[in-house]
């Protein structure tokens, strides 16, 4: 669980900008991803070797998820989906470091990501059908269904964010309980499960659900 803000700034005796663990670990992971990306993509060659193979493997894995669901638009959506995928995956993995809580174990992070996906979904739907055509598509097949469709659309970012948040927090709570019962040796395989396996699967699912929402809005 998140213990709340650790650092607080004061201006005119009023508290503002509380800095939580999530914020610090989130920015550290952003900087680490930036360094890693710079390192992996420096000195690119036509015949890939060494580190370039790793970079191409990651990008192709993500591309292969996008292309079947959004035909012919894989390269257009790759930067957006890959950003989400790599950031969520890296944030989940950083929980492997003892004493560090995953930024994705905080609803603020996941809800922020889900809202970005929500806005992109709406813009893509409007781009495909036109603004009026997209709004009208909520009232189909009968006008009667309009409130249900709107509520269904608004529920998407909520279920999208709570899925990732619940998985990571649930794993974190179980790990805390295990650490209290058996501080040594026993948590190692459980870390591999909760942080590595579940973290990777959840990052993949978070990205894939985003692709699925975009492809639903465009159809």
């Amino acid at each position: 669980m998140n213990p709340g803000p650790q650092i607080k700034f004061y201006l005119f005796n009023k508290e503002y900008l509380p800095v939580t663990d999530t914020l610090i670990v989130g920015w550290v992971s952003v900087i680490l991803i930036l360094i890693l990306a710079k390192y992996l993509t420096s000195n690119l060659k036509m015949r890939p070797e060494g580190k370039q193979n790793v970079a191409e493997m990651i990008i192709e894995l993500i591309y292969d998820q996008i292309e079947p669901m959004l035909p012919n638009e894989g390269w257009r959506f790759l930067p957006f989906i890959a950003t989400i995928f790599i950031y969520v995956g890296f944030s989940n993995l950083i929980g492997l470091v003892p004493g560090v809580t995953s930024p994705t174990g905080d609803l603020n992070t996941t809800l922020g990501l889900a809202l970005v996906v929500f806005i992109v979904v709406q813009l893509e739907g409007m781009r495909e059908h036109g603004v009026w055509g997209y709004i009208k598509s909520f009232a189909e097949p009968v006008i009667f269904l309009l409130p249900i469709n709107v509520i269904g659309e608004l529920a998407k970012p909520i279920s999208h964010s709570f899925r990732l948040f619940g998985n990571i927090v649930g794993g974190g709570i179980i790990m805390t309980l295990i650490y209290q019962a058996a501080p040594a040796l026993v948590p190692v395989p459980l870390h591999a499960w909760f942080d590595f396996f579940v973290g990777m699967i959840q990052a993949l699912i978070f990205g894939m659900v985003a692709i699925a929402y975009i492809s639903v809005a465009k159809s």
């Binding site: 669980m1 079947p68 279920s159 709570f162 899925r163 948040f165 619940g166 927090v169 699912i205 894939m208």
Partner: protein
């Protein structure tokens, strides 16, 4: 009419919240059954058509993620009941 002192009322509310958290996790049955069903069907499909293994696994994971939502909601409700009341 029985009057409770504030301490007793608080204890009752706390006990009820913890009981409620336990009851909320009954919803964990649903995703378990649903995900198991999806995995079983995926195994059947892979056995019938081993070529399409990658596609089947991707579709299975997506379906399981959606089936999991209800379980996650109950988990969040249980966490809220335990840690905030």
């Amino acid at each position: 009419m029985v009057e409770f002192s504030p301490q007793v009322a608080e204890t009752i509310i706390r006990a009820a919240a913890l009981l409620g958290a336990g009851f909320a996790m009954i919803a964990g049955i649903g995703p378990g059954v649903g995900q198991g069903y999806a995995a079983g069907k995926a195994v059947e499909s892979v056995a019938r058509d081993p070529e399409a293994r990658g596609n089947i696994i991707t579709t299975m994971l997506l379906g399981q993620a959606v089936a999991e939502s209800t379980g996650i909601y109950s988990l969040v409700i249980a966490i809220v009941l335990i840690f905030t009341i």
